[in-house]
Amino acid sequence: MFHKNLYHYSLFTAAATLILLGAGGLVTSTGSGLSVPDWPLSYGKFFPPMIGGIRFEHSHRLIAAFVGFCTFGLSIWLWRVDRRPLMRVLSISASVAILAQALLGGLTVKFMLPTPVSVSHACLGQTFFCLLCVIVLLLSREWKEATVTPSAAAPVFFRLCCTAATFAYAQLVAGAVVRHTGGKGIEVHLFLAFFIVVHLLFLNVRLFLDRPLTERLGAQMILLNGLVLFQLFLGLGTYLVKYLIEKAAQPRPVEVLLATAHQTVGALILASLILLVLRARRLFSPSGKTSSPSEFLELMKPRLTLTALLATLAGYLLASGEASDLARLFHTMLGAFLLGSGGNALNQYFERDADARMPRTQNRPLPGGRLDPILALWFGWIISLTGLLELLLFVSPLTAGLGLVIFLSYVFIYTPLKRRTTLNTFVGAVPGALPFLLGWVAGEGPLLSANAAALFLILYLWQLPHFYAIAWVYRDDYRLGGFQMLPQRDPSGKETASQIVLFSVLLFAAALMPFHTGLSGVFYLVVAAASSAVFLVLAIRLLRDLSKAKQFVTASIVYLCTLMMSLLVDKT
């Protein structure tokens, strides 16, 4: 049963303890630890004059006494109303801990701050705070009345959390040592910080790829991220003002503030990780959907992506003449592959409902129910951004920019437009043609040149007859999926066929352009003219018999490959 008053009282005690931690931190940061030489009284009194460091030291003692009484009250109350064995242990531990902490505080004053005692005092203080936070969690409504959600990722997340919390505790000890020895062991402290940040990244990936985890722990995770980020800045600031700048006669206010905030936020991070461990254990059962790597591979539509990649390769080779810089070519291909795969994954995420209605696509991982959509969404984003970064860092900003244009126009313009207007094909042809140009730019071909324009035009115009033919072949599917394609308002197919012919004529003209711009020679001109003529004849045949549309699609791919090959062969 949820005990509201007890819960609020425990929350209050925990909050008071956080203030106590801050006050204790101030004593260390201001160097006031020995400003009151006696203990438990202060200069033989309960209230010494609050001057100099005594303000900090004596306030700390007063708050500590208050928290001590709060804790004894909490222990007694818990003992009377909560019979859970774990709670019994915790409630006794809390009182024992606060007593031991007071003794350690007295010892460190009496023996004039010996490092082991001061460090133990710092660590026990934060341990006590974590203990109270656990008591609060165990008293909360969530803990007492929670339903258990199945989650596949929960066991791994739980283990990761445990490791992260262990590291955070080690970090507390390391931090206390740094603080009480004037900078000793700062390397260990930094090293642990790195480990914790890496764990946090993994925790984020695990959590946000799993819908149940995201729904129930997402808010705490975001808070934790914020705390850790803040903590990194505080740590850096403390290091800069405390160890790199010459020491002042008395600690500067900024030093005091940064160092105290750093240790207090540290306590919050440690407690938050411990609560995350417990919540991950309590709220989830280890079952539910699992995802195999093959589902992700399918999500990337590797065949489609590889086709686009061939265009990128052709563009690269056409621009650079040869694969002289293999590393650059590799990064271009990898970046384009990741970007394309990510785009495909996101496209499938957005079209998962439509895909479910079409026989051709209803067995894809998302409509087939083999993959959690939120997973696909994250996967798509991460892969795309990785690809973009790859292009930005290892190829060139222009290439990355072009990649971004392809990605955005495909996922956020073409994909939604497909459901609204038949004009979508004209838009979709842009990201369809650009992978070629991406290769061209990556191969250091000039973007604003007649050659680039000619090549883009060929690729753009080629998309139109190619996709009209596909739209005709799968016209029933598209209708079921709710996509606006030309054949939908053209049952006889006359308009579709006419459009195919029209664009095939334009394509014929465009195919000859590389000769005029000086990119290629007579050999290309002859091959381009001949293959374009054949392609045009095939297009005209569709006017009479659209049932040959499927063969036309195959022919269009052969035709494009022929053009590219001859371009490469006959490059002037």
Partner: protein, 232 residues
């Protein structure tokens, strides 16, 4: 070299050694200072209203004091090596006062076993924390005006830092030695080591900010003057 010359040489040498046992001299040590004195780091004693009242303009912790005659004050000079024999600790105490929220003297020498009388002349609360490593460290509260405490150091240590944990700008240094051959440069930039027996000595000069320097000195019955130049 003739036999006679050698023997007369040894005779002379042994005469010098024998007589030197009885001979002693006074060593005057000077600490000239070259360059401009660094600007004082004035501390606002806002933490204690009584200190603030006494120093409304702020307090100079006094790490570097350059005298009007271009010498450095508060340089602790002492015989680091070469002193032989045991020296009884004087019964007279070294007075160490807390006055005007500052220590007086700021740098001083004291013998092992010699009483250190700590006095609080201020109408405010001080505590005195001696961060001794060789002797026993102590941290004592002196909350009442006129309060006195007596402490001793039992092992030599140059220097023992003394600070007030209530008023962080208050700092002093004690040079603890098991012999009486030490001094602190005063307002004229000189210190005197009296009755130093003839012999070979290493003299060290210590300053809070400018560190230490040493010189080898041979002492006979002639009084000597040694200079330890410090640079800004």
């Amino acid at each position: 070299m003739k036999r006679g010359t050698v023997s007369s040489y040894f005779a002379l040498l042994s005469a010098v050694i024998l007589t030197s046992q009885a001979q002693a001299a006074t060593l005057t040590l000077k600490a000239p200072f070259e360059g401009a004195a660094p600007a004082a780091e004035i501390v606002k004693p806002d933490a204690d209203p009584k200190c603030k009242l006494m120093h409304p303009e702020g307090i100079d912790p006094g790490a570097v004091i350059v005298n009007p005659n271009g010498t450095l004050k508060n340089v602790f000079v002492y015989a680091k090596e070469g002193v032989a024999g045991k020296f009884e600790a004087p019964k007279t105490a070294v007075l160490f006062d807390q006055k005007g929220c500052a220590y007086s003297p700021k740098v001083f020498g004291i013998q092992t076993g010699q009483p250190l009388e700590i006095l609080n002349s201020d109408d405010t609360l001080h505590n005195v924390h001696a961060l001794a490593k060789n002797s026993k460290e102590f941290n004592l509260g002196m909350p009442i005006k006129g309060m006195k405490l007596k402490k001793t150091f039992d092992k030599p240590e140059v220097m023992v830092k003394i600070k007030c944990e209530v008023h962080p700008w208050m700092g002093a240094y004690a040079g603890v030695l098991d012999h009486p051959f030490f001094g602190v440069t005063s307002e004229d930039g000189s210190a005197v080591i009296k009755d130093l027996p003839a012999g070979e000595y290493t003299i060290e000069a210590w300053h809070e900010k400018y560190g230490t320097q040493t010189q080898k000195v041979t002492v006979s019955d002639q009084d000597q003057e040694i200079s330890f130049p410090f640079k800004a």
